[in-house]
Amino acid sequence: MTTAALAGLVGAALVGFGLYGLIVQPHPLRKLLAFNLIGSGVFLVFGIVARRGAAAGFPFDPVPQAMVITGIVVAFAASAVAVALIWRLYSETGHVTLDPDAWTEPSRERES
Amino acid sequence: MTFLVDLFRIVAIVVGTFFFVAGTVGLLRFPDSLTRLHALAKADNIGLGLVVLGLLPLTENVLAAFKVILIWALVLVSGGSTAQLIGRALRSGRR
């Protein structure tokens, strides 16, 4: 088995674990971690595509690699926006939940 | 001459790797966080130093050699300081 195929399987496994976490984990920060796992798995798929495309004296195809670099920066920006939202939500309410109905009747919330 | 240089390289890298292994064993086997930290910081700094020493004859020019030494120096500074910081955090946490 070549390095590229092995890395492809690692990428698939990362996407799988991330997807599971994204669905199951209730905490938004953990969902974000799971999203980042999926993201790096996807980038690995680009990586093996680049490695398989080795030709013309290059050990890799530069186009997918350039895309990964763009993708990593965009994924980081997404994480930063999500963290800012989570943090503001926490400082407003003292807890974090994705359920938008949780604050519609704040009085009841406080009693329970 | 080349034989002596090769021998020096092999010995340095093997001994360096041994220190890494020892440090990792320490990380896994030592009883508490402070001693683990000690094992890791000490052993890895020496290990990396020896590996860098072993790699020096392979470098193509003085600039490359300088870069390799710089890597060791940076790891030394950052590793040492982080170990201090973690140790401090551990002590204040215990109190």
């Binding site: 088995m1 390095t3 195929a5 690692v10 698939a12 496994a13 996407v15 799988g16 674990f17 991330g18 599971y20 199951v24 984990q25 209730p26 905490h27 920060l29 980042n36 796992l37 790096s40 980038f43 690995l44 990586g47 595509v49 490695r51 398989r52 495309g53 080795a54 030709a55 013309a56 290059f58 050990p59 890799f60 530069p62 186009v63 690699q65 350039a66 670099i69 763009t70 990593i72 920066v73 965009v74 980081f76 920006a77 994480s79 930063a80 926006v81 963290v83 800012a84 989570i86 503001r88 926490y90 003292g94 807890h95 974090v96 939940t97 949780a102 | 500074v77 950052s78 201090q84 910081l85």
Partner: protein
Amino acid sequence: MSVLPFIDIGLSILVVTVAASTIFMQELFAAVVSYVAYGLLLAFVWIRLYAPDVALTEAAIGSGVTGVLLITAGKRLVPLSRTTTEAEPTLTLRVFAGTFAALVACALGAAILVLPDEPPSLAPEAAVAASGAGAGLGNPITAVLISYRSFDTMLEKIVLILAVVAVWSIGTDGAWGNAPAQLRQARPHPEMVFLAQVLVPIGTLIGIHIFWVGADAPGGAFQGGALLAAMWMMAMMAHLTEPPRIDVRWLRLALVAGPAVFLIVGLAGVFMAGSFFAYPPSLAKPIILFIETFMVLSIAAALPMLVAGPPNERPVP
């Protein structure tokens, strides 16, 4: 016979194990720390895939800067991991999600394994282009990023600006214009200050070096910019410098410098080479380095601002 296959297999198992532990770890903070370790391990996988440029980016941004972001957030949110109001996921959900995720992963793995035996590639075209009239750069990835896919790269800088505005806009009305909160609230320990004092000047030099050699060797604006960003963050953490107010002119200019210069040079391409984002072949290399210089500046300014978060409600006196 070489040992490399065994290293590959060991590395793969390690990466997948650490990845799984970020998902299944009980404690939030432990999961975050495990994610950072995972990012570093991933950089090795990238090196094994002959992608030193990506490895540098992954280590600097994917693991380093993202790590600071998540650890800062995780530390602030530690009390929260116990007070979250969400119910624990039910067994049905776990089974469903597990099945679904496994199906997707298997389909993906199978699809990757059966990719065509003669893989299509743009490497020959890129080789011709990088050595020929196109860009005149030794590093094909830099050539692709700044020349062939320059439009993507410019838009991606706009995405960064937008993310910065988005993060700022998540603050309160009253806080607009203030500086973001300190990256580290309490007075830093002397070790931290020492580390920053030693590391920041050296790191800045290395960042500029990585950017400079990026034209011909692994490295470039992204990797160099990320390193400079890390140095700025470290200086702010050690309180060697304060985070700037978000409405100061120099910060705004630094943030838009990359895309703005890119845009202007792109427009100039109409007159110099007859098309938007076209560079006259003889001047391609200096023009690309010129654009990259400003991009380094923008990346070095944008990443710390994204980590620092919305402007602070109570400005530091």
